[in-house]
Amino acid sequence: MTRYIYLASILFSAAGILFLDRRFRLGAFGPRLVRAIALTVPVFLVIDAVGAARGWFRSDPHLSVTIFPPGISFEEPFLLTFLVVLSVVLWRGAGRLLGAPGGRQ
């Protein structure tokens, strides 16, 4: 079961971010977020692919559901998506806290 813990923690954290977005009505979820995910995740997957192939970093095959060549873990796209959502929620949250129009459009 240890191979599923990483994926589960990512999904759990994502659920937490979703909750925060709802609780504070940040309204991060929308077409803008989808675009941010659609553009950012592939770019970083490419960086990861190059990095994994060159040996910059490595994922442990025993702690991951599966590893795709050249060494990208199954969880990587989930992690990247989560990070983009987190970025946008933090950006909007910071805007809200500062009372500036930064978080709102």
Partner: protein
């Protein structure tokens, strides 16, 4: 230090992009970045100290914050900056970019990227150079290839009826050429240099050759697309060279290159280009454009195509072993080309081209299987493949459902009721018609046409409508007409207002339905129909009917085809009359579909929209009727084609039943990855069923009946195919329907 450099570069790019959008001046950006960095330090440390990630010592600087290397912080900052920048982007100002995106023909990306990747993996290793090369052959290369075409052939493409508006035609108008060329330069030159550095000198030369061949096709003075023979060769090289380059990027030596297959691919591509050119021969001649088919003539070109195709198959077969399967997959192509040798070559070529596109799916599948075996992907069990395949299918459907719900949002416009005529053809609808008519607003014109009912439909309709509407008998039906068409046409002749609504008597509309319908048709004309929700009351119906709603989701891509949904259709009267309406399709037993084809052939828009919120249709009164309806319709709706009907059944079973079966099988076989795939599929299915149930206002409890729903539905569909093969006429509500129109 490589990772250090890459991460620093990424941060630089990310922060400059944010700066370009004025984000650096906003405090929220920095606060968010600080919070993101803090969270990164914590979570990354947890990941690294648990060994989920490890780092290659010579690639990092060695500076760490706790267990986390500093590079990960830079990586995170780059991701945050890019995400927030894209989120804040003003997309309207970037319309031009989307034009460039389309100019690179996203549909064709896979045709160049896949050969590169597949060939690279087949003969080498998945090196960084190969991955980067695959990315290059996705977008930048296609922008170069098709962008150069657009720059020089925009005008002639526009005039070619086959290419105009199609994926093949020119997309970037002349006034944006400067932007086009700079986009080509910016995406290609640095990328090619980077690839040459990664892949070494031989790969660098191959890349340069590939780019040059992409250019000479349309750029004068060479312009090989107009040089007979060279046109087929260069356009084939556009796909063969990425393939060869992939092998080099993957580290294959020149001697270890798969020459045999590259030559076969080259011949196959040239043959295909020649086949395609035959279709355009008349146009090219008129436009004064040279091509292999123009100079050789249609029939000799077809002969050349046959020879080249046969050569490709023979060369592949020469390798023996598993390659024989691939060679077999190539055998239909020479036959396809040979069909152009007899009769009107151009007409045959158009037909053959369609066959070619279909054949590619089949051959591609077979050859992929051979390749997978050759690469030893046999380690993936069949069960895992099935489980993950069905999960992918379920999530594709979920995505389709979500995007369509978003796209189908109708704009609220008001069109006066006094402009609408509602025509209700009715045949033995005593039980339904009162509810149908009561759901209509007072100010519309209502015409009920009684199509030879033997019950009290007419009196029920007259009682409900009172003096406000008209109830007329359809009268003697002329030969060659089906009842429904005759009744609808009679109603349309009597209607006096500008918008015609054809409404089935078993359909009840909501308050907003007619306004929404009229507003849609007012926006651009054509034939608009709405998928009303299914009204269900008995338990058995609830068990079986949801399959209809899910089918609609599954078949949403079909809404791009000219299809209409009979119970609730809307059109402008002038347009309907001009095309002859139901009179033109008078013998049809699927009048909605044929009406849609009629409109589509005349170049009018045909749209089938989501309408579960607009009204409900009570088609059937028992599960028996539901099953009978599946049996009646399915084979006819698959166009009386056995292949399509069986593929449809297999596809639906794969998506709707297989996740459950695979779950049980994986449980028994203790196949962990398959179990995970099946579970993912089941969760997706649950979400999909829930979403559809809510939008169709079905009780959520029906989800539990899913296996019964689909077992019964697939069984009825199987019966439908069997009936069709035996040539049995479809029977509906006790009357045998007229034969196929055609």
């Amino acid at each position: 230090m490589e990772y250090t450099l890459a991460a620093s570069a990424a941060v630089l790019v990310g922060v400059s992009l944010a700066g370009l959008h004025g984000l650096l001046a906003r405090r929220a950006y920095w606060y968010g970045l600080a919070a993101f960095a803090a969270l990164t330090v914590v979570s990354d440390s947890v990941l690294v100290s648990n060994g989920i990630f490890t780092f290659g010592g010579r690639f990092i600087s060695g500076i760490r914050i706790g267990p986390m290397p500093i590079e990960d912080l830079l990586y995170g900052a780059a991701l945050y900056s890019l995400a927030v920048t894209v989120h804040e982007w003003n997309w309207n100002a970037l319309r031009k970019l989307s034009e460039l995106f389309r100019a690179s023909r996203p549909f064709s990306w896979v045709n160049t990227a896949l050969p590169c990747l597949a060939c690279g993996i087949a003969v080498g290793r998945p090196t960084a150079a190969l991955i980067a090369g695959t990315v290059y052959f996705l977008a930048p290369y296609n922008l170069l290839l098709y962008g150069a075409n657009d720059a020089f052939d925009y005008e002639s493409d526009r005039r070619n009826p086959r290419k105009n508006g199609a994926v093949e035609g020119g997309l970037v108008p002349p006034d944006r050429r400067a932007l086009l060329w700079s986009a080509i330069a910016v995406t290609n030159i640095p990328f090619l240099a980077f690839l040459a550095w990664l892949g070494g000198p031989v790969a660098g030369i191959a890349l340069a050759a590939t780019a040059a061949v992409a250019l000479v096709y349309s750029v004068p003075p060479l312009r090989t697309k107009e040089v007979p023979g060279l046109d087929a060769l260069t356009s084939s090289l556009h796909f063969v060279l990425p393939c060869a380059t992939g092998a080099l990027l993957a580290g294959a030596a020149i001697g270890a290159m798969p020459w045999r297959y590259l030559v076969a691919f080259l011949l196959w591509g040239a043959a295909s280009q020649a086949l395609g050119a035959i279709q355009d021969v008349k146009f090219d001649r008129e436009a004064g454009i040279g091509s292999i088919a123009v100079s050789l003539g249609a029939r000799p070109t077809a002969l050349a195509s046959v020879i080249l195709y046969s050569g490709a198959a023979a060369i592949v077969a020469g390798a023996g072993g598993p390659a024989l399967v691939a060679a077999a997959a190539l055998l239909p192509y020479p036959l396809l080309a040979a069909s152009c040798l007899a009769g009107d070559a151009e007409l045959q070529a158009r037909r053959a081209w369609k066959g070619f596109l279909g054949m590619n799916l089949f051959s591609g599948f077979l050859i992929t299987q051979v390749l997978l075996r050759a690469w030893g992907v046999g380690r993936v069990t069949g069960l895992e493949l099935i489980a993950w395949g069905s999960a992918a299918g379920v999530f594709t459907l979920l995505a389709i459902f979500a995007t369509n719900r978003l796209r189908m949002r109708r704009r609220a416009t008001t069109v006066g009721w006094e402009r609408i005529s509602v025509i209700v053809p009715a045949h033995n609808e005593e039980a339904n018609i009162a509810a149908c008519l009561r759901s209509l607003p007072r100010d519309v014109e209502v015409i009920v046409v009684d199509d030879g009912s033997t019950d009290r439909t007419m009196s029920a309709a007259a009682r409900t409508l009172g003096p406000l509407g008209r109830v007329v008998p359809a009268g003697q039906r002329p030969d060659g007409w089906t009842g429904k068409c005759w009744a609808a046409w009679r109603g349309a002749m009597l209607a006096s207002r500008e918008i015609l609504v054809f409404l089935d008597a078993d359909t009840e509309l909501g308050d907003k339905a007619l306004e929404a319908a009229a507003a849609e048709v007012a926006r651009g004309g054509g034939l608009i129909s709405f998928l009303t929700r299914y009204d269900m009351s008995t338990f058995a119906e609830r068990a079986v009917m949801p399959a209809f709603a899910l089918m609609q989701v599954a078949l949403w891509p079909l809404t791009l085809l000219p299809l209409a949904y009979g119970p609730f259709m809307v059109a402008r009267r002038t347009e309907y009359m001009e095309l002859g309406g139901h009179r033109t399709i008078r013998g049809s037993d699927q009048e909605d579909v044929d009406l849609a084809r009629l409109f589509a052939h005349a170049g009018r828009p045909v749209r089938m929209l989501h309408g579960a919120d607009l009204g409900s249709t009570r088609h059937y009164r028992s599960a028996r009727q539901v099953a009978a309806a599946w049996r009646r319709m399915y084979y006819a709706y698959s166009g009386h084609s056995l292949a399509i009907a069986l593929a449809g059944i297999a596809g639906l079973a794969m998506v709707f039943l297989v996740p459950a079966c695979a779950f049980v099988a994986a449980w028994i076989a203790e196949d962990q990855p398959a179990l995970l795939g099946a579970a993912v599929g089941l969760i997706g299915l649950l979400v999909l069923r829930g979403a559809v149930a809510i939008s169709e206002r079905q009780p959520l409890a029906t989800i539990a009946w899913h296996p019964i729903t689909w077992a019964a539905t697939l069984w009825a569909m199987g019966l439908s195919v069997a009936d069709g093969l035996r040539g049995r006429r479809p029977v509906w509500r006790g009357t045998e329907l007229a034969g196929q129109p055609q």
